[in-house]
Structure formats: C-alpha cells, structure tokens
Amino acid sequence: MTDRETTYLHIRMKGRAFALHSSREIPCELFVSDSGRAVLTSEDGATVEDVAAEDLDVASPLGSAPRRITFPGGLVFETSDHDAVTQLTGATRGGLLHHYEQFSPRLVGVIAAAVLSVWIIWRYGLDILVTAAIALTPPILVDQIDRGTLKTIDLTMAETSTLDDAERDRVEQIFRTLLDDLPADQREKHDFTLLFRSMPDVGPNAFALPGGTVIMTDQFIEEFPGRDVLAGVLGHELGHVVEQHGLQQTYRSLGVFILIAFLAGDTGPILEDVLLEGSLLLSLSYSRSHETAADEFGLALSHRAGFDPAGLAVFFEKISEMGEGPPEWMSTHPANENRIEAIETFIETLDAP
C-alpha cells in the first residue's frame, strides 16, 4: 500500500481467504481499524491474521472481478465488496486505467483516438523508427548484405556474363560518368560497383543492393544498347542506393509485422487480416513512390552528367509494348504509361544542360 494521509475509517468487508498454495476456502471478514491494523477474522470468531494495513498488497481493479488482497505471509483474501476496497486504497493502484475503461460515451473518443493514432503512426511514426534503425545499422553489415545477396543470386539464377570486354568497358564508362556527378559525401558513403550477369530467366533488368552494388543483366545490354537508356536505368538504380530504399522497405515491413503480430490478440482474426492486407497494399504504394523517386533521381543525374534523360522513357515505352502488367494498385511498380508521363513532365522541369 502506498503512503496515505487519511485515517482508516472502520472499513469492514466480507469475503473468503485462502492459505498460501491451498484451495481451501475460509469464509472471513476483514476489518481495518482507525489505528491502521488489518484484522482478518474467520466465521467462528478466530483471528486469522493481524497485520499493519500498509503491508497489504491490494491487486488493481479489473472489470467487476473480485479484488484480491495478499497478506505478507502469502495468504490471499478475496472480496466482491468493491466500495470497501476503494475506500481502503483510495484512488490509487490502477484506478485511473479502471476509470477510463468504464463503459460510457467517452469510449467513442477512445475509438476515434485509436483510429487517428493508427493513421499518425502509419504516416509519421514508422518513418521516424525506420530512419533511426537505418542510422543504427553499421555500414559493414550493409556491405555484407550485398555480398550475401549476390551469393544467393549467383547460386539461384545468375550465370557468368558473356559480354565482350569492349561492351563492358563502355557500360562501365557510363556508370563512372554518372558516379562523378554524385555529391562527394554520397560517393564516399557507399561502395559503388557495377557487375554483369547473364540471367536468361529474368530478361532485361537491373538491380541495386543497399550497399551500392548494381547488377545489370547481359539481356538488358543486348536489348537496350543505347547510352542514354543505359544511363537512365543505371541512374535509377543509383537513386535506390542513395535514398536507401532497400533498407527502408526491409525495416518497415519488419516493424509492421511485429506490431500487428503483437496486437493480433486484441484485434481478433478479422481485424488482423484487414490490417495485414491493408498494410500490404499500402507498402506497395510505398514501393511505387520509391520507384517514382528513383526515376526522378536517375533523370536528374543522367541529365547533369550530360546524357539525354529521355532515354529512360524509351525503356518504358519498349517494355509496355511487350505486354500489360497487373493493375497499378496491386503492383510494386507504377504502371508504365503513368511512369512515361511522369518522366516527360519531370524532364520539362530540368534546366538546359
């Protein structure tokens, strides 16, 4: 019991007691006198316990469940006389929580606050956490992630590049030119390397790993040999690295998964599914916004480095001729036609070189 100034006012409550580790019910009465003594008397008038009232451990209230009062020796007294217990403890020990849990119109406000805070956390809270997690990730670990992922790619889907040296040098040269136009601090922060792999099953594609490794498939260079296209796509991949999209998505999905998993008991299976599906759709929109950001980064970079930024649009035009993708809202990438439009709009905002 906490220190309290008021005197005890002859509090009397009926209930039952259990000795430590025993299920035997002893009908009892607890009496707390003015002098601060708590006396437990059994039905036949025998004194079971006589201790100082402040040595009692009163469990906090929960709904209308009986209150449990534990004596120093482990004996438990249980009573449904809620008023008497409140009189004994005063408004302490979880009373505030209990007060807000009462079924009343105030709960409508609680519901609104819950919905609002989900939105706020989604919009701002997660970003802050993700930024903090990225700042805490040691660079050595990120480099190691690159090496590990590359190993997995080589093991599962990639073969040695069959490009001749001249062709490699040409693409490497474009990559170097782009890197020279990156801010100096970015160039030092990441270990940028361009690698070539043959991936017949993947087709024309390029990937960026968080540490700065960029992989381009032979199939891409064979399909799109133009230097402006290559510069546009390499610039896009560099955008993913510089803006740390890979780590952001990893931490974000991990954080959301853990949060929803621990809330699941309180949300029930249906709300949990709604949250999971919703967060999946929203994370797709997140990934799409990353693609758009990388497009803009790539366009600005290739423009600065002296390439024609329209090269990136050429790539998407050719790709969209090859076939239609899924509806935009269920895809990790924006639809090609929207992307081409956005690219053309963005190019107009760039200054003449």
Binding site: F262, G265, G268
Partner: protein, 359 residues
C-alpha cells in the same frame, strides 16, 4: 492416480456448470483502451494488454463458486517479447548475409521450436491458477519434438488420413502434462470419435463442393485447371471470389464441426486426480452458428463488436462445460515453482501459435 488423496467417493456428485460472469460492455471498455494504449506506445503496452485480457477472462470464469486467475505481469511479458524481437531482427539480418548462414539458422530454429513450445506452455500454466492453486506443465522437450515435428511429417506422408491420431497425440501431450497443484490431469480417449469428426467434416466440404459446382455452372471446377484462364483478369477474380466462398462455406464450418465434436470427447474422457471428471455437451450446429455469425458480426462492424462476440462464445462454452466433482475442491495443494521466462510465450504470440489447453 488417486493415491495422493483419501478414498474417492463411491458416488459421483451432481455436475456443476462452468459459468462466465463477464459483461460485453465492461469488456469492451477494457479492450478498446488496451488497443489505444498499445497503438500509441508502438506495441509496448500490448504486453500489459495481454495480461489484462487473460486476467479478465480468467477472473470471470467460475466453477462451483471459485474462479481462475492469471498472474503474469506486463513487464515479464515485455521482456520476453523484447528478447524475441531482438532475435527476429538478428535472424533477419543474419540470413541476408549469407545463404549458408540462413540455412543453418533455419535448421537451428527447427531444433529450438519444440523447446520454445514447452516453455510457452509451462509459463502459461504456472501463471494460471484456480481457487488459489497454480497450474503446472511438465511436458518434456523430446516428447514435444515428436508431437510437433515428427508426427506432423508422418501425418503428411499418409496424406492426412492419420490426422485424428496426430490431433489426439497433441491433446494428450497438452492435457496429460498439466497439473493443478499436485493433482494430475489424465485424458484417455478412444480414437474412433476423432475419426468420426474428421469424416463428418470431410463430408461437409464434399457436399458444399458438389452443390457449389452445380450452382455456379461448373465454374468452380476451373479452380483445378488454372492453366487456361491466366490471361483473363475477370476469370481470375471470379476464381478468387469462389475460393473465398469455398473457404467460408466449406472449410471454416468444417473446422468448427471437427472442433465441436472432438471437444466433447476430450472433456468427457478427462479426469483430474481426486476423482474429478469433466463433461462437455456443446452441439455442432450451435457452435458453428455462434462461430460463423460471430465472424460475420465482427467483420461488418470492423472489429468493434469483437468483444461482444468473445463474451458470447465464452458464455456458450462455459454453460456447456461441467465439472463432476469427485470430492471437495478444498483439497488441492500447490507448490512453490520457478515461474520461468516468457520467451517461449512471446515467440508463440509473435507466430500466432496457440498451444494452451483445448478450451
């Protein structure tokens, strides 16, 4: 099993019903405050929310005028969860470092999994009490390894025709290793009722399937020939829709049917030392109705009626569960036991594994 007690009475006492005294309104208030505080604390309060939830349902469940209690503290649950979250993050990062490391880690998890389950059941049992006497769980890791890893593999190898054997093994492991104080639970159920329940569940799925195929003009049959519809988005959406329909009309009710039928068997063949027996008389139709309508009500109210549906189910289950006392309930005695860590418990929370007693 009765040696720790004086002679069991010759005749069985009158059955006493379990009773749930929780109120939907009262529980709603606790639930919504739990949810709000868990969200604004980024999940940290969810540890205390879990304790409050369990305590509410335990405290309001009575039999013979005595109730249950849950004793874990939010801090204990939080520490377990922090350890598990740290392990998950390390696991996640480590497995992206090298394909070999990730393979080794997965194998390690398979070996640790039964240990985590046993720890979880032990923590749960030791934190629960009835009439001031704590439960205990004494299952071994080796046994858990068999029941949760080896048997499921064997069951899959028999194309799930031996599923009832697996299910009974899991329930036996869970129940027979539980103690109330020093008193032992013992379930000895024949296998035939489990097979009967599976048969009925399978027949239900089959019947719904036949009706659905007939009604939808054999579109459902396309479910199994996906090859030729891949390019047509309308066909894909129809199939996804039909799949959900099958899930809600066929598989979900079948699962409830199986559960209702086996629940009665499990309770009716369980004994607690001292000659105390149990009885359950839930009916398949009623339990199915409650479960399915609960799901619909919770879904259309976006979860707001979830507390009401939980109280409704708790009420129904309690009212159809009985204790047949073999003597006085005053004679259970507990022992001082180490409460243990909540790491296993936190792990099963995260993975959504439910390994408690079949309630």
């Amino acid at each position: 099993m009765r040696d720790t007690y004086d002679a069991a009475p010759a005749r069985q006492a009158e059955p006493v019903s379990f009773e749930f005294r929780g109120k939907a309104g009262e529980w709603f208030g606790i639930w919504i405050v739990n949810l709000l505080l868990s969200i604004v604390t980024l999940g940290i309060y969810s540890a205390w929310a879990k304790v409050r939830t369990k305590k509410y349902f335990y405290n309001h469940t009575y039999v013979a005028g005595r109730n249950f209690d849950y004793h874990a503290t939010g801090m204990q649950i939080l520490i377990g969860r922090l350890i598990v979250v740290a392990a998950v993050v390390v696991f996640q990062l480590a497995s992206s470092l090298d394909p070999i490391i990730s393979l080794v880690l997965i194998l390690a998890l398979v070996v640790v999994f039964p240990w985590l389950i046993v720890r979880s059941m032990m923590f749960n049992a030791r934190m629960s009490s009835f009439s001031n006497v704590r439960f205990n769980f004494l299952g071994g890791v080796g046994q858990a390894f068999l029941v949760f890893l080896i048997y499921p593999i064997l069951t899959a190898l028999t194309l799930y025709t031996t599923f009832p054997l697996l299910d009974r093994a899991v329930k036996r492991f869970s129940i027979n290793n539980h103690r109330l104080g020093t008193a032992k639970f013992e379930m000895e159920a024949p296998i035939w009722p489990f097979y009967k329940a599976m048969l009925f569940a399978a027949l239900w799925v089959l019947a719904v399937g036949v009706v659905a195929v007939a009604l939808t003009g054999f579109q459902l049959a396309n479910l199994f020939s996906l090859g030729d519809v891949e390019d047509d988005p309308v066909a894909i959406f129809t199939i996804i829709g039909l799949f959900y329909l099958m899930f809600f009309l066929a598989f979900l009710p079948a699962a409830f049917m199986y559960q209702a039928m086996t629940r009665n068997v499990v309770y009716n063949s369980t004994e607690l030392s001292g000659g105390h027996r149990f009885h359950s008389n839930v009916t398949t139709l009623r339990l199915m109705w409650i479960a399915v309508s609960n799901a619909v009500i919770a879904a259309v109210t976006l979860g707001l009626m979830l507390p009401w549906t939980q109280v409704r189910l708790a009420n129904y289950l309690a009212n159809h569960t009985y204790l047949l006392p073999g003597g006085s309930l005053d004679d259970f005695v507990g022992r001082q036991v180490d409460e243990g860590m909540s790491v296993g418990e936190a792990y099963s929370d995260l993975e959504g594994i439910d390994v408690g007693l079949p309630i």
